[in-house]
Amino acid sequence: MNSETSFKRPALLAAVLIVLIALPTIADATGYSALTSLATRILIYGIAAASLNLVLGYGGLVSFGHAAFFGIGGYVVGILYQHYSLEEPLFGFIPGTNQMLITLPAAILISGLAAAAIGALSLRTGGVQFIMITLAFAQMLFFLFVSLKTYGGDDGLIIRRTNELPGLNMRDKHTVYYVCLVITAAFFALLWRIVNSRFGNVLVGLRQSEKRMAAIGLPAYRYRLMAFIISGMGCGLAGALMANFLRFASPDMMHWTKSGELMVMVILGGVGTLFGPLIGAAVFIVLETTLASWTENWQLALGFILLFVVLYTHGGVQALVLRLAHRPENRNRFSESTMRRFKVLERPLRVRKDARRSNGKR
């Protein structure tokens, strides 16, 4: 079965959740209070990377422009805040706001609309053109926001205070963390439903063989577009959270390197797995932070790590760990069902593709 198994390990999931809930307390108690901020960033990037993974891992569509939606989400928060603080309505009739209950849905909506437009055009092609086109559209939006002097141009927009949520003190870093944690949990639960739904079923089917799906009567375009839109909305949500967390939105959020970073997170964690991108985001951010504290030239190291992961590990960190656990001497430590689960996870897209090719040749 190719269905997502992670949720079927409730014990592990509960343990992780408990650690995440206790994290700010632990961080303060041990004197590493920066850990809470680090974890907040990981959660937010985890949402963005998991959204990208919906099209990239489950749908097999390599989008190189998802930072656009991340940036749009951030700018929705920033622009609404600016109009709120200046007390002048946007376009003369949309009042600004600092209420998160409004800004987050607005960010999701607007980034969804942008994804609909970009996706509708980009999905007319496929393969390498799709990569180039999504990259180009993201770059276009980048230039657009750089030129919008009203909203700070390339300096970006400062959001003086994190958006308000009724009854919560959003100036407290812990509160922001818990808000992000709740949203992340809800987001992953939703994503889990989606990838195991009828919709997810055709999406994964399309990744495996578009020809087969057409032959059973499936019109591919509309499903891919829907996946692209959902994925854009997820990135918009993450961008809105990030703007709240950093109290800043800038064109850098939609720079093409950000799209690249999101892809790196996905591949680090494991393409096409539910929690892989979250793990990937954690690995990436911890790596980035650690490397940057050692050397100014951390990008050099990151580049080599990336090369290594792509060329030599098949299926990212998650699969690497599982493979290590799967070594013969460890074999009898695991039950039959666990081993079978490994087997599925161990087969990255690429290997599966090779198998398909050799099947075809037979």
Partner: protein, 252 residues
């Protein structure tokens, strides 16, 4: 005369200077098995691809039960009752056998914009897929990944998936190719059993199978139908014997 289930008129497909399909006329009557034979490179698979809408013909028309298919994409043609199997099997390798069949059932049932309910716990899909697999050699293999199936099993699955779309006309692209003797016999039996449920256009090299199953045979050579008729007529046709069957008795 009843209305044919498939009616192809003047179909032409050019690849650069090559005429892959050369003014082909072809009909399949309801309930019949119409075999299409011809040497390698005669354009049989190209023809099927055009019938399915995967390739666009340069000229000509295709009708299914009187309805023109020319402007329709593949997916809609399937919706109207056309289904095919692939010569080189084309399955979803990361899914199990039953997943593959259930997905075809799902697509047939209507749109898939349903985001919440777990598709693998959906009885309306799983039950029907199980029923379709019942009695086939795949029944005990239902939960095996497709990538682990043998070639013969994959061929069988191709057919089961096509049937899951509830077709009125089945386009079979060399269903016996690569099968052993026993497997071929099973496939022939399966197809014979389906004869009253669905019309078929059978592309096949295995002459035993063709003569065992076909009501009518058309012979395609270099993209052209050079003969069409009953099994006996084709056997006797001198043009066919020289162009394709070859003189001598090694055939039958």
């Amino acid at each position: 005369m009843t209305q044919p289930i498939l009616n192809v008129r003047g179909l032409v497909k050019r690849f650069g200077g090559l005429l892959a399909t050369d003014h082909v006329d072809l009909t399949v009557q309801p309930g019949e098995i119409h075999a299409l034979i011809g040497p390698n490179g005669a354009g049989k698979t190209t023809l099927i691809s055009q019938l399915m809408g995967e390739l666009k013909p340069n000229e000509g028309t295709v009708e299914l039960a009187g309805q023109s298919l020319d402007a329709l994409p593949t997916a809609q043609r399937v919706g109207l009752g056309l289904a095919r199997t692939f010569q080189i099997t084309c399955l979803l390798p990361d899914y199990t056998v039953i997943d593959n069949v259930a997905l075809a059932v799902q697509v047939r049932q209507g749109h898939s914009f349903r985001f919440w309910k777990n598709v693998r716990a959906d009885h309306s899909l799983r039950d029907e897929a199980s029923t379709l697999l019942t009695g086939t050699g795949l029944e005990p293999r239902a939960n095996e990944l497709v990538a682990n199936l043998s070639h013969g099993e994959q061929k069988q699955l191709e057919l089961t998936i096509a049937l899951a779309t509830q077709p009125r006309l089945l386009l079979l692209d060399e269903p016996m190719a690569g099968l052993g003797h026993v497997e071929s016999q099973q496939m022939i039996e399966t197809l014979r059993g389906l004869k009253n449920q669905v019309s078929m256009l059978l592309v096949e090299h295995d002459m035993d199978a063709v003569f065992a199953l076909a009501d009518r045979i058309s012979v395609l050579v270099y993209g052209r139908v050079i003969a069409s008729g009953s099994v006996d007529e084709i056997r006797q046709n001198p043009e066919v014997r020289t162009a394709y069957l070859g003189e001598g008795d090694e055939l039958c």
